[in-house]
Symmetry: C2
Subunit: 327 residues, 2 copies
Amino acid sequence: MRIHIQNDSTGDWPPITPAHWDVVRPRLTVESEVTFGSRPGDFRAVARDIEVLLISASALRDLLPLDTPLLKIIFCTWAGLEDLAPYEWLPPGTILLNGSGVHAVKCSQYVLMALLMLANQLPALVNAQQEQRWERLYGMTLEGRRLTILGLGAIGGASASLARRLGMRVTGMRTTARSHPDCERVVTIDQLDSVLPETDYLALALPLTKATENLVDRRRLAMLPRHAGVVNVGRGTVLDEEALCDLLDADRLAAAVLDVFHAEPVPSNHRLWTTRHLIMTPHVSADDLQTNNALTLRIFADNLNARAAGLPMPNAFDTSRGTRVRT
Amino acid sequence: MRIHIQNDSTGDWPPITPAHWDVVRPRLTVESEVTFGSRPGDFRAVARDIEVLLISASALRDLLPLDTPLLKIIFCTWAGLEDLAPYEWLPPGTILLNGSGVHAVKCSQYVLMALLMLANQLPALVNAQQEQRWERLYGMTLEGRRLTILGLGAIGGASASLARRLGMRVTGMRTTARSHPDCERVVTIDQLDSVLPETDYLALALPLTKATENLVDRRRLAMLPRHAGVVNVGRGTVLDEEALCDLLDADRLAAAVLDVFHAEPVPSNHRLWTTRHLIMTPHVSADDLQTNNALTLRIFADNLNARAAGLPMPNAFDTSRGTRVRT
């Protein structure tokens, strides 16, 4: 099997190296030949020969349209692939996989951090520190608090697990209402409105699709209790940022911790930078410099092994829905 | 048994009420008669009749010297009682208990929050947000990271447990080197210097005693690796604040999350307020408005039951060491 690993040529992310590959190679049940590249020319030099391509969504977008007659599989290292939509560029017969699972541990720990920050009133205490005010705002433990997680993919599911282990009562929302081991209940989108008024913390771990765009809009945000907090690690445009800022300004929501935004980088002088009780991080919640490359290759190998065994590939991406194929 | 519960007359803390007492009363194995008060006059009206007093350290200090001929037990709701030292005011034959255990769940969750904030570079990202800089600083998971916890009392022990459950490698330091279920190793103070250079995160959960005052001084802070982070939830004067700020300013330490300080409130214009990569909270890490009063009464009852059964009271305080009696 002829594999090409195309690293990003820009950015500060460390490349996947032959040393990474040597670690994962024993896991792979099929013969393979691997090349590595980072510049567009590196890709073009091998494009007509390769059967499998591992690449980020941004690097792939820059290489379209593809001239890859033998290509069977594209493994995209990102979980959310909406930047590649519409998917008409995908050659017929080529299967697209996403990087779901790579980010679960890191991103769920970020979600746990955000929940603990909300429970400890950190967003308000950070404002108090900036203003040199000693204001004793008391927090609480997570036990018994009601968490609603929108999206129970790898990240949402791992977040539910961590939250449950600290005694939270977790409601999950996903496309189907089938149960989840770490959720007290699972609801579908049509029940969301009834869940919001009973939510202490709302965590968004959704991909951007036609169904999720602006899902958490002004009307729905206003249904949360005044003491509620919001976390978003999925995609920015699932949430109405302006409405969130309005509600925080009006003291109609307690706080928020956001890692994703409508525009990234967030423009200078945007109100998000200075809205009170709002902590922003620059779309880094899912990325772990120390483990992401190794995890990516492990999941990549598991998918190739599944295919070799005649099984469905767990990371197959459903371009019509814009998420991983439902398993 | 004649019990008096004296609430603080000042401050924003909700009082312990008869309703709280009704919940814990079935747990108590001894007959009891209880009064409640908050003003000094409430205490004086019953002082000569009571056998057991439940009170905060600050309220107790304001009532000294005691004129309580029948008093056998003082249960102090705080864990650290250094404000009551020297203990010459303690009537002979009266046993002092502290509130150890009340704060374990809440404070260990704060420590976990702080560790996750350090691992996710939140202190630096908060500074970036203040300066409206989109700077993608990447974090990492806690798995495999080396945490050193100074103090393995109720708070330090519970923190070790949470950290271990997320895969951290925990070293604990306490008075004796006996093992702890959540620590890979336990060291004593004479081994501290050898542990510091191998520490990614240093968490302080120590009472203030002669042995701990300025324990983490400039020399020891400088032994930590440059990438290390510091958390303090014990007492401020265990740590050299000025040295910490110097090391943060010089980029010789990565970040810190502090809840306790040399002077509280921290004075206006103190460098702590503005030191970069430093998050401050106003001595609130251990306090949970929703559960502290109920937990306090449960631990209080357990101690009275132990005494009635002829067993050592678990919260007996050793005034010579300034910590709970070693069990």
